[in-house]
């Protein structure tokens, strides 16, 4: 097995990438996903595997500097077993070839030769310019030229400007074994990156999306979290419990006999390839100090209010303010709409000083369907990537 160099992904893949596999990291433009390929390369180098790196868009000198800078280490690692084909070679090939066919031939020959001479075990190929120059077929056949033995592993990185259709071709037409798409959710005020295991040929890992942060030269996957907050007795614990079957809350009997949350509620749900944890905050003012901590690193917030209780709006406004300060995406759920005497949409918006574009739902947290709808809308709202 070959390590991706990323903790967490190897586990998801059942230990790593089987030798001889064809792998593609497919990057959506603008997403800082270059650390995926670099992590895999560094893992291979430090294991002493013989590597070939094809970088038509840059020189190996620049590449080494960049890669070391990204990882926050020295360039010493490149003293290991590695050979490069870079932009200078590309220029040479272009100059000495008359037709596109000659160019392709020259690439294949060069790649095959280096791969053979160095008994290359993993070839890392930056596809982008090859695809530009020689099309998809050409790129694939250059990659195949590196496979001088059945156990040579191919790792491609591609700037995917075409989206899903290109990924499908890699899966169906070229039988790639592992495709990891790297994308971002960008909604003007919040930004997060995630990768998706699109396809794994050697095991049936379900398609999964996992957010990640790139920190100190490492890709770190994390479990996304949605936080449900709002005034006391709004129904937060009920909401979180109904969000998942695994939900539980740390409640204690309050003075009036109602159970009130003292630490947090916790639940779990699966939606759109994301596994999401749902946290509920306590509502009582005396627990306010824990709320900012619960909000940190949240991907989105559900603000839950009791629609029958206008007097609590002022308290909810405090929550709105806190969420705005953190610039987190938010939806409002007006709960207990099964009861008579609920406020209207405009009363709530006015009371909370909300803009028109903040989604507001009237729900009953006791109904699982309502709870799901709110959470799904929130995840859609956050991850929607419109061009």
């Amino acid at each position: 097995m070959i390590s991706t160099g990323i903790n967490g992904i190897d586990d998801m893949l059942g230990g790593g990438i089987p030798r001889g596999s064809r792998v593609m990291y497919s990057m959506e433009p603008g997403v800082d996903g270059q650390l995926f390929m670099i992590s895999t390369l560094f893992a291979a180098l430090s294991k002493g595997l013989s590597c070939l790196v094809v970088l038509p868009h840059t020189t190996f000198d620049i590449f080494k500097h960049d890669a070391a800078m990204k990882r926050g280490c020295t360039m010493e690692i490149f003293n290991k077993k590695v050979v490069f084909i870079d932009a200078v070679d590309r220029e040479r090939i272009e100059k000495s070839s008359r037709t596109r066919k000659d160019v392709l031939k020259a690439w294949e020959t060069k790649v095959k030769k280096l791969s053979k001479e160095n008994a290359v075990e993993i070839a890392f190929i930056y596809v982008d310019l090859l695809y530009n120059d020689l099309g998809l077929e050409g790129t694939i056949s250059i990659a195949e030229a590196a496979k001088t033995s059945g156990t040579t592993t191919l790792i491609l990185e591609h700037l995917n400007l075409e989206g899903r259709s290109l990924i499908d071709q890699f899966i169906e037409k070229y039988s790639y074994d592992l495709i990891i798409a790297i994308s971002s959710a960008f909604r003007s005020q919040l930004h997060f990156n995630y990768f998706t295991l699109m396809h794994t040929s050697w095991s049936n890992v379900p398609r999964r999306s996992v957010p990640f942060i790139a920190t100190e030269g490492r890709v770190v996957p994390y479990i996304p979290k949605i936080v449900v907050t709002g005034p006391t007795q709004a129904g937060k614990s009920t909401f979180v419990t109904n969000a998942s079957d695994l939900g539980f809350s740390i409640d204690r009997r309050g003075v009036a006999g109602d159970p009130t949350t003292v630490a947090m509620d916790f639940g779990w749900l699966h939606w759109k390839n994301f596994e999401i944890t749902v946290y509920g905050t306590p509502g009582q003012q005396r627990f306010d100090s824990v709320v900012p901590m619960l909000l940190s690193h949240a991907m989105g917030i559900v603000l839950l209010i009791d629609a029958t209780k206008p007097s609590a709006l002022e308290r909810a406004r405090h929550h709105v303010q806190l969420i705005r300060e953190k610039r987190l995406p938010m939806v409002i759920a007006a709960n207990k709409s099964d009861l008579p005497g609920t406020m209207s949409d405009s009363e709530i918006r006015k009371g909370l000083d909300l803009q028109k574009d903040v989604p507001l739902f009237f729900i009953s947290a006791t109904r699982k369907g309502d709870v799901r709808l709110v959470l799904e809308s929130l995840v859609d709202y956050i991850t929607q990537y419109t061009n």
Partner: protein, 235 residues
Amino acid sequence: MYNFKSGIVQIDQGFGGFEAGTNFLVLAPPMSLAEDLAYSLTKPLPGEYAIVLSTNDRAAEVIDAFKVMEVDKRYVGTIDAITKSSTPGIADTTRLMFVASPTDLTGIGIKFSKMVELIFDGDFSDGESGLFPPPVRFCVNSVSTLLMYRKLEVLYQFLHVLTSKVKKIDGVGFYLLNNESFDEKTISLVKQLMTGVIEVKIEQSTNYLRIMGIKGVPSKWQKFSVQKGQVVIGP
């Protein structure tokens, strides 16, 4: 909706400037004042930010150009696609980022996103901050260079990504293209991605411009010059 003042009376007075979320092609012959024009349109006014993608000039030259316009440099970011080829070890800073070469679209996309993120997070201007949400002006100098290295279809898709992002963050974008080096097909394809076109021509060493695609702004040719980063219309 935010409006970006252009500094051109004809645009700003009647129409308040460029609407947020718009993209303009600056189509011009070589040796014209197009670059000065584009930089002047990209110049951030107080509270605004600017990002310049430079495939022709080194970052130092871009910074100089903005200095001449008396811009607060804390609000200007440069993505430089030139310097790295001669100085491979050069490191990024908040407002100065480098990509390997103009062919490195992956790098360009990432650095652009990064700067936008820094601006939105309020980490761009040494603790200072402008308006929120931040109005961002973006300039690509030039699309011509990008096109020299890339197939039209690929670059079209890439520009589509950039122009969409400008739209999404409610910014304004200016994209320089030399109209003498490319055929009609190329130009018209790039135009499809734009809200409007600012065209420049030279006649008897005088620069003229016309603006197409802003409702109500007449698209007739007008003499212009650029003085200290200010576009001056008329003789």
